[in-house]
Structure formats: structure tokens, C-alpha cells
Symmetry: C3
Subunit: 119 residues, 3 copies
């Protein structure tokens, strides 16, 4: 925890490893999490549809899952920091629009199960 999923439509050119590194750095800088616990992944979308009209645009949607108990302003700030990392990663010269969104979900602490298996 936290778990970050970043979905990216496959028409967007992006350096995924750098984006994950930057997003994790932003999450660590929040002071809310321990370094080894921040876990992020990308999922590239090959079959997607935006709206009902033909368009060249793409979208990036992130879901950040955090254990319950953090304040709303804290969660909002986390969402904005991830959003900013994504905006910075999108090419400035691109010729298509990109919608970027971040949803913060709370995972109920009392029903969460975890085990850490050491190396």
C-alpha cells in the first residue's frame, strides 16, 4: 500500500518506467507511505472507446488505492500529485487530446490482509 494503477490508451507515446518512477517519488514525498510499500503498475489499453464519435484522442486514468483513515484533503493532494506526474509525462507535441483522471479509493483497513515474505 498504496497501490497505483495507471491505464494508458495505446495511442499515447509515453515512457512508462519513468512515469512510474516519478509517480512513486511523488507519493513518497507526501510523507504518507514507507518506500518499499509503494507499488505501481501500468496497463496499456488496446481495445478502448471514448464517447460515441470517432476521435484520435486518448486517455490516461489512474486509480490510487490507499488504506482507509486518511483525511479528504490528504487524499485529494495525493490525487493531484499523481495527476501532475502524468501531465508531465505526456508529450507536449502530439496532435491529439488527452484526458487525464485520478480516482482515489480507500481500502478498508479492518479487512485488509498482508504478508511480507523476505528474500
Amino acid at each position: 500500500m498504496p497501490h497505483l494503477l495507471i491505464e494508458i490508451t495505446d495511442n499515447i507515446t509515453i515512457d512508462q518506467p519513468k512515469l512510474l518512477a516519478d509517480a512513486n517519488a511523488a507519493l513518497l514525498a507526501s510523507g504518507q507511505f514507507n518506500e518499499p510499500d509503494i507499488k505501481a503498475r501500468c496497463a496499456v489499453l488496446h481495445t478502448y472507446r471514448q464517447g460515441t464519435e470517432a476521435r484520435r484522442d486518448g486517455f490516461i486514468h489512474a486509480t490510487l488505492s490507499v488504506l482507509s483513515g486518511r483525511s479528504e484533503p490528504t487524499r485529494k493532494a495525493l490525487a493531484e500529485s499523481v495527476r501532475d506526474a502524468i501531465v508531465a509525462a505526456v508529450p507536449k507535441e502530439r496532435g491529439y487530446g488527452v484526458q487525464i483522471s485520478v480516482d482515489v479509493r480507500e481500502m478498508l483497513r479492518d479487512t485488509y490482509a498482508k504478508s511480507v515474505l523476505p528474500a
Copy 2:
């Protein structure tokens, strides 16, 4: 927003682009959303298991994520419209069963972050 994810086991023959187009059209027809904001994707499942017994059946599970604040009847109607689009997309002649389900999740509006980068 909304975000629609449709997971499909890989033993089901389905026209995914048409399904996404039909689902988005149904969501637009609800009057709840702006056309460019409806974002849908398919994920084909290659490694899955239904129950504990061997079977040929497949399943399709959709998760519709909407910003919080809509009434329960509205969300139920959205779920049913997506469910109906999926049912219509499944081949009538197929020789295997298909379970179809739709979960509607609310994304907390106050912690959602968004940016729209124009073309």
C-alpha cells in the same frame, strides 16, 4: 467519467469494438454524461477459473465507475443498460453458458483529480 471496464473470458467470441460502441451509446442515452467523457475498455482474460469444477462456461464482468452523487435508481438503471448491451453482444448460438454481471462503483467526487490536455 464514467469509466467502464468490461472483462471477457477468452473462450467467448464477441465483437469488442461493437460492444464498446453500444455500451457507450447506452450510457450517453442515459443523459447523465457528456459524450467525450465516456471512456470504455475491454480486458480479455486468458488465465481465469470459474468455481472449482471443470466447465466450458465463460463470464463477462463489467465495472462502471461514476462520480459520486447520483441516486441509487439512476445507478441501477446504468448497470442494467450496460448489462443489456453485453447480453445483446453475446452469440446466441454458442454451446456454453455465460454469466454476465455489472458492478457500479462511485468515485468520490471530492478527491478526484482531472486535467484535459487539448489537441
Copy 3:
């Protein structure tokens, strides 16, 4: 329902079909679900990042989605049974650490839509 998603970083060697079979058996043994309704899938993560430092470690994260209305102790027990199935599936001799976590989400019963198409 239930829906189980198990995400696995691609540096972990694991028998995915056996893991799904064992997880489903554990869920069935809980007495909470009907056999044909337990639906599980794996997603292998190819682009991921844990923390901000270089490491060989991997992680497995499961999301178990159940219809609302079960008690917190019941949901906690379900999470632990899935966690235990995952721990048992990870190789004992491996040379890298593995973080394992299970999140239990409730799907709102009143807005869930379902259809079962028979064979």
C-alpha cells in the same frame, strides 16, 4: 460473485492455474458462495515499480469483490484465506522478497445487475 483478481509481477514464478484453483476452493469452503459463481482471474504485471529504489522484489495483490451485506469478520476471514492460498503458491526457494496483500471490496447489492445465459 465473488470476483477475485490476482495481480502478479512477472518476476515471480508461480503456477497460476493452480493458484486460482486453490483460491476458489478456499472461497467455496467459506460457505459464503455458490460454486458456479466464484470467478477468479490472474493479471501478470509487466510494467511495474515498487518504491523508488532498485530492487529484485516482486508483489502479488489480490482484490476480492463481494456483494455488500457480509460482516466485517467474515470479510476479513475471506481475505486471509485468499492471502494464505497465495503464500502457499509462492516458491519457497526464490532469492527475492514478495509482498502479498488482499483487499476486500463490497459491491453495492442494490445497483448490481446480472444475467445468466445458459448453455
